[in-house]
Every structure is written in structure tokens, then in C-alpha cells.
């Protein structure tokens, strides 16, 4: 029942927002909806920690530690983004981005009804046991977020939305083919004709008996398909466009929660493939794509001129890191992956929230036009931005240092010397590029604009998330660590 409620709440919030007549009602529906969702996600986590995997409707919805972790991350990011969005979209209206009151209300309705739907689809990705339903949900995330990318209706937003929809559509049709082949690989098993035949829990239990050739092709297709959604190179081209055109809170959701969901789909198939074919084959492909993603992100970060595109390339880089961690196939690698996913889901939205503040104040994303001085104009945002940038680049004491350190240890332990060397090399390049740009932006001279007052919705949600980031650096709550360990155990299968 808990799982059903978790899906139903954001859906109801979306319905209320569609029917609501005032902006305030929509905001309330969203905040309340995401608040309840977050609480429910916490309850799911505690249930999973207490009793092991939870399922409902004869295994139709299924939550083990991995699903619970992804749900928790999605729900918490969604809640913070919802708080931030209140201030963000109001500021858009105040600065005259919407033509008139009616158009403004339509924009509010669009944002506040599509976002909960988007979140609902992402939660379904994590909770669906049936791999086919999971595919439907991932396609659902595309369909619900296309209009968020197109939110401002500018020429560039159209272009970004088009690329997002078409590249995503092609990728996902490959993933569907892969899902189908996974289903076919089980056709010799008894009872594969029933609904449960595509259930992950059933397939995973019989993974060793699946048809190997079919599984190999299935994994390749799914890797390309969900890899497109996760923004792994060379299928990453939609990502910078979509991230830089969507409203910032939506971009924050895309960059963390959606990335998690796509990786989650990949992880589920990786588990099947590694149990069927051994960890060698899927692992090698993942490490290859991961290193390639990092390598492609590096020059674009070094030469970037646009703040939000910089964050998008950082996201591609992070997706690459997580793919490498998954591909290592060791227990340490899986632990590093889950830790990294958790920490990234705190850090990347924070970066976007800061970027949103900068964007709304300076009305541009271009480094060349902002000319630095963020720390002076917006001391809070500037400080947090610098801190979050250091965190995402894996600087101690922030927790992404721990996960990346674990990753390097796991890689060296597994004998992936070349991948480790490239990882360090690209990591150094990205560090240099991102620090140069963000450092210049935050600490640069600027043109002496006066400091702005505190803006409660946006600044407080940002500060709250920054607080979480600092907290995680020094103290990982025991239940969260237990959940992460549980999720890593799901991957390695013991």
C-alpha cells in the first residue's frame, strides 16, 4: 500500500494543479504533495530496512534497497526543487517573462502539473518490477519533461526540446528492443508467458539459465538506450541543450533524479547480464562508455562559456564516473556507485539552484556577460556555489571525495590501470576547467553591483541543501549507510 501511495500522491498533486484556479493553490498542492511524497519515501526506506524487499499486487511493484534508495533521492530532490521553484517561477513572472496574467497562469499550471507527473514517472521507474513497465515509465519521464524543457517557448528551447524528444525517443526504442530480447532470452523457462515473465525479480532468480547470445544483444541495446537517457557519450548531445533551456528547478531534477533513474534501469539490466554472462562483458562496455563520457566532457568543460551548459557537461562526466563504478563489477565498485549516486544527488541540484540564482539575477548564463563578482553581489549564493563546485569535483572534505577514492581503489584492485589513469587525467582536466570558470564567476572583480537582499524561497532551499551537503561530509546517518550498503548488495547479489 505504501508503494501505491508513493505513486498516487504526486499524481494527485498534478491533478489538483491542473484543476486549480490560482497560483497559490498550485504551489500549495505541489509543496504538500512533495512533502507527503518525501515522508512516504522515508517510510518505504524504513520498511525496506526493517523487513527486506517490499512488494504489492503480486510483485507488480517491488522495492528492495536499491529501489528505496532511488525513491528516497528522487523524493528529496523533488521536495527541495519544489520549494525553490516557488521563488523561481514567481521571479520569472515578476521579471516579465510571461506575456500577461493569463499566459502567466498557464505557465504556472504547466510547471506545477508537469513536475509532479515527471516525479511520479521517475518513482514508477524505481518501483516497477516488470522491466516492460519500467520502460514505459522511463518513456513517461521523457514525455512529461519535454514540455518542461520547452517551458519558455523560445527558439532555443524548441531546439532543445526537439533534440531531447527525438534522441530520447530513438534511444528508448532501442531500450525497448533490448527489454524485449531480455524477455525472449527467458522463453525456455517455464511460466515465462505470464505477466511475471518480464519481472526483474523472476528473471534475476533465473539469470544463469537465460539464453546467452540473446542476453548479450539485449544488454548492448539497453546500454545504448538507457545510456542515452543517462547522457553517456556519445549519446549525450541532448543534455547540455535540455539542461540550459529548462527552468532551473526542472533542470535540477533532470540532472540528478532522472540521471539516477536512467542509471537505475541500466543497473537492473547489468545485474541480469552479469549473472548470465559474467561481469566481464557488460563491465567492459560500461567502463568504455564511462571513460568516453569523461573524455568528451573534459574539453567542453575547459572551453565552456555558458554556466548551465558547464553543469550539464559536469553531469555527463558524473554519469561516466557512475558507469565506470558499475562496470568494475566488484563489491567495492558497487558501494562506490551507490555512495556516489547519493552524494551526486545532493551536490548537482545544489549547483543548479546556485546557477538559477545567478541566472535570474544577471539574466544570462554566459560567463563573458556576468563578468564575475557573484560573491560580492550575492554572498550566500556565491559561497555555496564555490563550496558545491569543490564538492562535485571530489575535493575533501566533501563526501564525493570518499566515493571517488573508493572507486579508484576498486579500479586498481580490479586491475583497470588504463581506465584509472584516464579517470585521474580527465578528472584533473575537469577540475581545472570547472575551477577556472566558477572561480572566476564567484571571486572575479565584477562590475560592482550592490548586494541583493535575501530571497526566502530560493535562498533558504539552497541553504538547506547546502546544509545537507556539509552534514554528509562529516556524518553519514547510520540508516542511510545501511540502505546504501543494501543497494550495493543488490548489485553484487549477496
Amino acid at each position: 500500500m505504501l508503494l501505491l501511495a508513493l505513486l498516487a500522491v504526486p499524481f494527485v498533486a498534478a491533478l489538483v494543479s491542473v484543476l486549480a484556479r490560482t497560483r497559490r493553490a498550485m504551489e500549495t498542492a505541489n509543496l504538500a504533495g512533495f512533502g507527503v511524497t518525501f515522508a512516504l519515501a522515508l517510510m518505504v526506506v524504513s520498511a525496506v530496512l526493517a523487513r527486506g524487499p517490499v512488494s504489492v499486487w503480486g510483485g507488480f511493484l517491488y522495492a528492495d534497497s536499491l529501489s528505496a534508495l532511488v525513491c528516497l533521492l528522487t523524493a528529496s530532490v523533488a521536495l527541495l526543487c519544489a520549494v525553490y521553484a516557488v521563488g523561481y517561477v514567481r521571479e520569472d513572472e515578476r521579471s516579465g517573462l510571461f506575456e500577461d496574467a493569463a499566459a502567466g497562469l498557464w505557465q504556472f499550471r504547466k510547471y506545477y502539473s508537469l513536475t509532479p507527473l515527471f516525479v511520479c514517472a521517475m518513482l514508477l521507474v524505481a518501483l516497477a518490477n516488470n522491466l516492460g513497465v519500467m520502460w514505459v515509465a522511463i518513456e513517461g519521464t521523457t514525455l512529461t519533461s519535454v514540455f518542461l524543457v520547452m517551458f519558455y517557448g523560445k527558439v532555443t528551447s524548441l531546439e532543445a526540446a526537439w533534440k531531447y524528444a527525438i534522441i530520447g525517443g530513438v534511444g528508448l526504442s532501442m531500450a525497448l528492443f533490448g527489454t524485449l530480447l531480455a524477455y525472449y532470452s527467458a522463453h525456455r523457462l517455464a511460466g515465462s508467458d505470464t505477466l511475471a515473465g518480464l519481472n526483474w525479480s523472476v528473471l534475476a532468480a533465473h539469470a544463469a539459465e537465460l539464453d546467452r547470445t540473446t542476453m548479450r544483444l539485449a544488454f548492448i541495446l539497453v546500454l545504448v538506450g538507457y545510456g542515452t537517457k543517462a547522457g553517456l557519450a556519445p549519446m549525450h548531445t541532448w543534455k547540455p541543450d535540455a539542461y540550459s533551456e529548462a527552468p532551473v528547478p526542472a533542470a535540477a531534477l533532470l540532472s540528478s533524479a532522472l540521471l539516477n533513474c536512467a542509471l537505475y534501469g541500466l543497473i537492473r539490466f547489468y545485474i541480469l547480464a552479469s549473472r548470465c554472462l559474467g561481469a566481464e562483458f557488460p563491465g567492459a562496455l560500461l567502463v568504455l562508455l564511462g571513460v568516453l563520457s569523461m573524455g568528451i566532457a573534459t574539453p567542453f568543460i575547459l572551453l565552456q562559456r555558458n554556466l548551465r551548459r558547464l553543469l550539464a557537461y559536469s553531469s555527463i562526466d558524473q554519469a561516466g564516473i557512475m558507469a565506470i563504478a558499475l562496470g568494475l563489477g566488484s563489491k567495492l565498485g558497487a558501494l562506490a556507485l551507490m555512495l556516489h549516486m547519493t552524494f551526486h544527488s545532493v551536490t548537482k541540484p545544489l549547483l543548479f539552484l546556485c546557477a538559477g540564482n545567478v541566472h535570474q539575477h544577471f539574466k544570462t548564463d554566459l560567463f563573458g556577460k556576468i563578468k564575475g563578482g557573484v560573491l560580492r553581489t550575492m554572498p550566500l549564493t556565491g559561497g555555496v556555489f564555490l563550496m558545491a563546485t569543490l564538492a562535485v569535483l571530489g575535493m575533501p572534505p566533501f563526501s564525493m571525495f570518499q566515493s571517488e577514492f573508493l572507486l579508484v581503489r576498486a579500479a586498481l584492485g580490479g586491475g583497470h590501470y588504463l581506465a584509472t589513469a584516464l579517470f585521474v587525467l580527465f578528472g584533473a582536466g575537469i577540475f581545472g576547467g570547472a575551477m577556472f570558470h566558477v572561480g572566476g564567476l564567484v571571486l572575479g572583480a565584477g562590475d560592482g553591483q550592490p548586494a541583493v537582499a535575501l530571497r526566502p524561497w530560493r535562498d533558504l532551499s539552497m541553504l538547506a541543501l547546502a546544509g545537507v551537503l556539509v552534514m554528509l561530509a562529516f556524518w553519514l546517518p547510520a540508516p542511510l549507510l545501511e540502505l546504501i550498503r543494501g543497494a550495493a548488495r543488490v548489485i553484487t547479489g549477496d
Binding site: 524485449l180 530480447l181 518480464l198 565552456q304
Partner: protein
Amino acid sequence: MDFLQNPEFGDRVVTLMAAFVLVLQIAMVGQRSLVMNIRVFAAQSFLLASIAAAIAWYNHAPHIYFAAGMTVIVKAFAVPYLLERLVDRIEIRHEIEPIVNVPVSIVISGGLTLVAYLVGASFYHPEAEPRSLGHNTLAVAISLFLIGFFMMVNRRKALTQVLALLCLENGVFLAAICLTYGMPLIVELGVFFDVLVGVMVLGILVYRIRETFESMDVSKLRRLRG
């Protein structure tokens, strides 16, 4: 009418319809008129539904009838109707201008069919297990998929790319029908729902692109770089 019960006849009919599906796919590559392209797509979807119905009949698997019915409703009627309305609404020129000219495109499609045959043969071994109805159409399914990809990169107009995406989907559907005799019902339902919503979403996008750029040429979408 006892030949209707004859599995050999069923095999022939399914194979024949699969061949026509492939012919229609190549016709789509060769066809220059946009409206005709949409209609060919509708015909192809209709044939796919017939294949599904034939397999349902010969395997006594009533749940596939549902997939066949949904295909007819969604892909043979609803989607082509929406697309044709869109073509009327945006008053575009009705000619498709592929990047590679038509004869070369057809030759490339033929080559892709060959690749599909090789891929299909690599993991489907008819000798290894008893011959089951429709499995030999796997090569057609894969070639629909590959030709759909080719159409995607070979066309500049937004609407034709949507059509190519739908062809990819048709390839997956044929594979689903012939390999696993359909997917679980709830998944089918979800996939059809996604296809329908997807076409609407893409249709709105195409409409907005047309309004904003005065053209559907997606190669004009080149402002976002780096």
C-alpha cells in the same frame, strides 16, 4: 475452410505479410510525398496487426488479439489521422527531401536488410528448436529497425523524423510479436499509450517549430552548440 486451420498455410501467410511489411518500408524510403508516406505507414501498421491476429489465431493465444486491435486503433488510425491533420494545419510543402537521393537510399535499405538478416541469423537458430510460427520474420523486424534509423538520419524535416521514429517502433512491435508472441498485457497497454502520447507531444513540437522557424527543416536548429 479447413485450410484456415492448416499451420503450414498460416506460416505462409505470416511470412508473406512480413515480406509486404518490408516492401512497404522500402516504399516509404522511396516515396517522396509526405501524405503518401503517412498512409504507407498506416498500411504497414495494419499489416502488422494482421500478422499479430494470424499468430493469435494459429497459436490459440487470445491475448495477442488485444495487441492486434490496439495496433489497428492506435497506429493504423489514430496516429496517421493525427499526422495528416498536422500536415493540413501547418501547410507545408508535401515533398520529402532526403539527404541521400532516392535510388541510393533504396540500395542502402537493401544493404541494411542484409545486415539484419545476418544479425537475426546470429542468435536465432531454426534448426536448434522446433520451427515456430513467425520466428522467421525476425530479420524483417530488425531491418525495419535499421531502416528506421537510416530514415531518421536521412531526413531533414521534423515530421518525417517522427515517422522514422514510428517505424522504429513498428520494428520492435514486429519483433515482439514474432519472438515472444507479444509482451505482457500491461506492458503492451503502456507502450501503446506512450506511442500515442509521444506522437501528440512530437506533433505539438513540430507545430511550434514550424510556427517559429517558418520551416520544418531541423537542420536549421543549430543555435545551441558547445
